[in-house]
């Protein structure tokens, strides 16, 4: 026993290393799993506060481009209102339809922390469970497509797993042909303006500048534009091709995002939980 103690004491550097390294690795691996209890991340109160204060200053730097994008979206929405009014004016019908509440509600939030330089990027927004945000809600940017999925929620803050993350996979389709694929980022290059659509069946014809939209099979509503095709390659001996796309969204200047609240999401989740697991 005493010899063992002397042995451990002599090589204490190594044993301490094993212990601490194991804790670190376990934390890192557990971090990917569904349930998390530790909040050592940016939804933490202290960390969130630092980023929120920092953002007060940074907000001004991008004010111009944010204004432009909001104005552009406003213009688009106004045009849509006009066209709707035009149809209404020909035939006034008043319908009190209580069943037909829209399935998706948008909630605007401000980005208080964003990163684009890592392999796994995480965004923090200033809305939390007090505003009705729950994990796995989709997040989009005004008029420019997908941003990511909500990951962790605290009372007033939430972290969003950005599209620029190794675990993010979003179901998309090519607008012209409705071919289904899944959108991933960071395979082979970490250019923040480019992403890949994988698992598209070979027999579809893809042209450069085709638009890619969300399919509605993942939690995103269908038809949200994602990007345009820049390159498609067929790998031999494979039934699927992978398409390189240019994202509409510029992640480096993200300021405001919309979180989409899906009315039927809990119902769908409950229903799909009944499927047998392999």
């Amino acid at each position: 026993m005493r010899n063992l103690w002397i042995f451990i004491n002599r090589y204490n550097a190594f044993f301490f290393f094993i212990i601490f390294f194991a804790i670190g690795v376990i934390l890192a691996v557990k971090n990917n799993s569904y349930q998390r209890s530790v909040t050592v991340n940016s939804t933490n109160e202290i960390v969130g506060n630092v980023y929120q204060n920092l953002n007060v200053w940074r907000k001004y730097l991008n004010l111009g481009s944010v204004n432009d994008s909001l104005a552009a979206e406003n213009a688009k929405l106004r045009t849509e209102i006009l066209s709707l009014q035009h149809i209404d004016s020909t035939k006034q019908v008043t319908v009190t339809d209580t069943a037909n509440i829209p399935q998706y509600t948008y909630l605007s939030a401000r980005v208080i922390k964003n990163s684009i330089t890592l392999r796994n990027n995480v965004i923090t927004i200033n809305k939390g469970s007090a505003d009705g945000i729950a994990p796995y809600m989709p997040v989009i940017s005004p008029g420019k497509g997908v941003v990511g999925l909500v990951m962790d929620v605290s009372e007033h803050l939430a972290t969003v797993r950005s599209l620029l993350h190794k675990d993010t996979k979003i179901s998309v389709n090519i607008k012209k042909s409705d071919a289904l694929g899944s959108l991933v980022w960071g395979v082979g290059n970490a250019d923040i303006t480019r992403a890949f659509v994988k698992e598209v069946p070979n027999h579809f014809k893809v042209n450069v500048k085709d638009t890619i939209v969300t399919s509605g099979f993942s939690s995103f509503p269908p038809g949200i534009p994602v990007g345009s095709v820049t390159n498609s390659s067929v790998s031999t001996g494979d039934n699927f091709m992978s398409i390189e796309i240019k994202l509409f969204n510029d992640f480096s200047t993200l300021q405001y995002v919309y979180v989409i609240l899906d009315k039927y999401a809990p119902e769908q989740k409950e229903l799909e939980a009944k499927l047998p697991h392999e």
Partner: protein, 171 residues
């Protein structure tokens, strides 16, 4: 270990983490090279620090970084790896009992010793960091490339900072 040294180290911890989180977090060259200058703090922890304390400091530093980077455990593991390499390197290159200098700075230890020391420590740190972050071997070439470029960037910055602040005190 006197109290002045402790205060200097606490001050250094805050300044380096401040720079890392607020400034360098947003910085990268072509998404290839990302500097992690906060490793300088762990490199400069005084010589006489007990191993357990050193590991604790490394772990807590890493965990703080993780909170701000939203990568729980990745930086912590990397910092612990750095601490391990640091202990090994110091025990191999110096005799155990008498440390003439209080801390392993460039000015105290000379250019050659410090560069080898910093290179080995940064190497361990960045390898653990990038591979834990990616956590798959299918992107190994890209991860290695990022790792190597980041090591060069970090080392360059660390040695630059050392030259700016410690050269004057060199005897």
């Amino acid at each position: 270990m006197n109290s002045r040294l402790v205060l200097v180290n606490i001050g250094r911890w805050f300044i380096l983490l401040f720079i890392q989180i607020l400034l360098l977090r947003n910085l990268s060259f072509y998404n290839m090279a990302t500097p992690f200058v906060y490793v300088l703090f762990l490199l400069l922890v005084p010589f006489g620090t007990p191993n357990l304390l050193l590991y604790l400091i490394a772990f807590i530093t890493g965990l703080t970084l993780d909170a701000f980077y939203d990568t729980l455990g990745v930086h912590a593991a990397a910092c612990v790896a750095l601490a391990f390499v640091r202990i090994l390197f110091i025990s191999v290159t110096m005799n155990r009992d008498g440390f003439d200098e209080p801390e392993p700075t460039l000015g105290n230890m000379g250019f050659k010793w410090f560069v080898i020391y910093a290179t080995l420590c940064t190497l361990a740190h960045h390898f653990v960091l990038f591979f834990l972050e990616t956590f798959r071997l299918t992107e190994i070439s890209y991860t290695l490339l990022r790792c190597v470029f980041s090591i060069i960037f970090t080392l360059f910055t660390v040695i630059l900072i050392e030259f700016i602040f410690y050269n004057r005190r060199m005897r």
